[in-house]
Symmetry: C2
Subunit: 525 residues, 2 copies
């Protein structure tokens, strides 16, 4: 496969004629060839019309057909080998080793959803038997979930594979039976095209309707707004900035038919250091914190951007160890010059706030777009009265909040806006305080973790990667893990439908061998 | 209990001082005493603050505590006896017999949700075991669902019991562990206060935090908007007009923290008469249609407002039988003078549309606010090119669309906007056409029913009372049945949480005896 600079619309490769975009190597600021043609409204129209036409036929495919499609995409991505990893590394500044891990995650997500589709649990099959002798008679009622319809997917800058063209959102939507129209992220256009070609070929090889997948290139916010406004689109998945997510939410809400938006936006992932744990393990926790802070140059939505602890000697020890570790951390290339610029502006703004001091920074940057990790310190009173401090600075920046007592820690927790994660470092002797903190954190975060760091997001059944606004636009959903498929489904109930017309998941004899809810009981029958 | 004209804010009864409202007997246009004091912003603030304060304590109650609370409300409603039925009948014009059935539904909804809470299936308990030897190690991950937070409930005009103060939305939210702030519907203020007193007393008797329930009286749209805008409110449930629902959706989307709105709005519940069934049972179907059309004076969100059939002798026979039945139908009192007025305006507007003829009407009205059922006829070409015809006229009005062929029937189906229900009258010989219609109807409706009429909405596990916009604001949810509780929940994942802090639903040994998803398998362990 080769990068051509074209969009992929159904089974066609289409050169956009509304301008040119180029990929840039953030480590050198050099332009990477070839250039990419920018699409326009007609391309959106074409992709969305194909998606709409594909809709009924694609959602009528069997579980096995969709599972094999997802697995073929996974295989195709692996087969791209160094071509993909090399290009992604050039476009994002992320090291090859990190991208290989991310590719593994991407592939395992696709395979997990293949398994989810085969299992069929996501269908939510529910049957209530007819009660003909009851007064009034109860009809036969059977429910399963069906695909919402075509989904617009906006990839993330920071995961060029795992949250991009064939990333978690795409895999979940395709698994659900929804065609997807993906807008390529400008920061990794070549990577996007390579992966897009894999999906396009897999769709053809599996004889799927061509509209099941399109990949568009657009260079402006209005392009994305037009995609979200298209009547064929029935849901939106987005990972990115709060500003970008809010704009798509507004557009979706203003449609004549409003549609759900799943936007994973920004948060600061607070880490609470409970007193006993801190007194026993200040240095260990401090080192772990700096490791977590600087992972992927801090460009993770689960980056620990806030640390809350009681003032005193253990916190001094934590800060001292963290500072030592920080001083040894090399500056790392950020994803784009724009992201690097925003990071510099963010830490400058934070550093200028009255009541904030800079604990320290990592090694100075020696290359373009490389970021020095930065840790700030403040007290709870300043945090509670300064609005800006709850906002994310995307990159390796964090703020330590020193509290006078446990009540101030609880007040800081209560003051937080919605988060993807909240972490407690705690020992058995901290349980009493943890019990007070836990109900607050439950209201604030989608995932609560103990004695770890939030960076890694396991792809499994019990994962929640979502949380109250503004961490995500819809706290009822998860962007990672098996339940991510639920975002693209809606229930349909069939009342007294003849057996000959009944969807397979709901037929007598349970031919798909699903766990089903039958008259309120969970049974394999 | 007696009607005092006061609001119920927590455990207090508060006389609103922002004006006066009175209940009106729609059958006589007489005012019913006493008058009601209208609340203002300070009352909203008080109710929402109490709800927020109650939030953590209420959601920490055991399943058994919440189940008993719901059952006590059911018992209390029954104990109101003729006081409640009599007042509700005076306020709404609905016959006592219908209200007794509705009371039964209300009580059974409360009891169903008590059972749902005891079952615990709604918690979605999901466990993924730690894999400490995997590289990288997998942490222990456990997910359950928790209450979203305080819910604003707006009752419906047409179900003064089943979709009002202690109706389906309230029962589902209270079951989920959410405090509720209910805005009483102006059309049945006395009924609302009586039921509100039952909930208030049940909350006290069960030692629940007082903010778990408040009942407010407001006389303007801005009052509702202010309630939805309050930062303590985390979700909205509404049943009513499209205009009202859209206004609340806009308000919720514009909050600094947007929140979900579950608005059940308007639709026309198409009924497709497939050719063979119509040729065999035209008269029977025609009689059934008029029964369905005139039930509760047509004031049901599942009223059959559209009939689609092939032109020809069987349709002529259907129309003739329907007309005979219609002529025998007495005019029935509508819920309010305003609703009656809107009905008259709606049928006048429809009748004036070019290409529409009036098939016939029911008996003339002899009392104030009584509605004559009205059936119109048109052809598919007119329907497909006249926008207004897809909109609901609330009341006993329906439109028959004569199609030249099956393709026109399919085109009419494709032309429809979102619906709560879609019905097919069909015989075995109609299966071929039904197979073409079914995928379209799946995209258009939340419930698809065969050889019945959509009016009755069973309260069970497999029911879906919802559908694509504008039938409801959120097609992923149901307002009726066990799954209605899902609207008020969000998932939280715990990573490596110590056993001593683990929520009961997720503990080792499964003390709540739940069906849980463990490592991807559904098990009772």
């Amino acid at each position: 496969m080769m990068i051509t600079g074209k969009m992929l619309i159904g089974q066609s490769a289409v050169r956009g004629d509304k301008g040119l975009l180029s990929a840039i190597n953030p480590a050198t600021h050099e332009t990477l060839g070839p250039d990419f043609g920018v699409g326009g409204i007609a391309d959106i129209e074409q992709a969305c019309t194909l998606a709409q036409q594909a809709c009924d036929r694609y959602r009528a495919t069997t579980a096995e057909q969709r599972a094999q499609f997802l697995e073929a995409i996974a295989t195709g991505i692996l087969a791209l080998g160094v071509t993909l990893i090399g290009r992604a590394s050039l476009e994002t500044g992320l090291p090859a080793a990190r991208l290989i891990i991310e590719r593994g995650r991407t592939v395992s997500q696709l395979r997990l959803f293949a398994q989810v589709v085969r299992d069929g649990h996501y269908l939510g099959a529910t049957l209530d038997s007819a009660l003909p002798t009851r007064l009034p008679a109860r009809p036969d009622l059977r429910l399963h979930k069906i695909a919402l319809g075509p989904v617009a997917v906006f990839g993330a800058s920071n995961f060029p594979l795992a949250f991009s063209v064939a990333g978690g959102d795409s895999a979940a939507a395709l698994a659900a039976g929804c065609p997807i129209v993906v807008k390529a992220h400008e920061a990794h256009l070549g990577t996007s095209e390579l992966v897009g070609q894999v999906i396009q070929q897999a769709a053809a090889a599996h004889n799927l309707p061509e509209g099941v997948f399109s990949l568009l290139i657009g260079d402006s916010h209005p392009f994305g707004q037009s995609l979200v406004s298209h009547p064929a689109i029935k849901a939106v998945a987005f990972t990115g900035s709060r500003q970008g997510g809010l704009a798509l939410m507004r557009t979706a809400a203003q449609r004549s038919e409003p549609i759900p938006v799943y936007a994973e936006m920004s948060c600061i992932n607070p880490v609470f250091l409970l007193p006993h744990a801190l007194s026993m393990r200040a240095s260990e926790i401090g080192r772990g914190f700096v490791e977590a802070l600087t992972m992927s140059a801090g460009q993770l939505c689960t980056n620990p951007g806030l640390v809350i602890a009681l003032e005193g000697q253990p916190l001094t020890q934590f800060c001292s160890t963290a500072l030592d570790a920080l001083h040894k951390k090399a500056a790392a290339t950020m994803l784009t010059p724009g992201i690097h610029h925003a990071y510099l502006a963010g830490i400058e703004e934070t550093g200028n706030i009255s009541g904030i001091t800079t604990l320290g920074q990592g090694c100075p940057a020696e290359k373009p777009s490389a970021a020095q990790a930065t840790v700030f310190v403040t007290d709870a009173a300043t945090f509670l009265t300064t609005g800006r401090l709850g906002d994310e600075t995307f990159g390796p920046s964090s703020l330590i909040v020193a509290c006078k007592n446990a009540d101030e820690m609880l007040a800081v927790a209560e003051h937080l806006s919605g988060q993807l994660t909240a972490t407690m470092q705690l020992d058995d002797a901290d349980h009493s305080l943890a019990r007070k903190l836990l109900p607050i954190l439950e209201r604030k975060a989608g995932r609560i973790l103990v004695n770890g760091y939030p960076n890694n997001v396991e792809v499994s059944h019990a994962m929640v990667h979502g949380g109250p606004f503004p961490a995500s636009s819809d706290s009822r959903s998860s962007a990672v893990g098996a339940s991510a498929i639920d975002r693209f489904l809606r229930p349909v109930c069939y009342q007294d439908l003849p057996a000959a017309l009944m969807p397979e998941a709901l037929q007598e004899g349970n031919p798909l061998e699903l766990w089903r809810m039958v008259n309120g009981q969970c049974v394999l029958a």
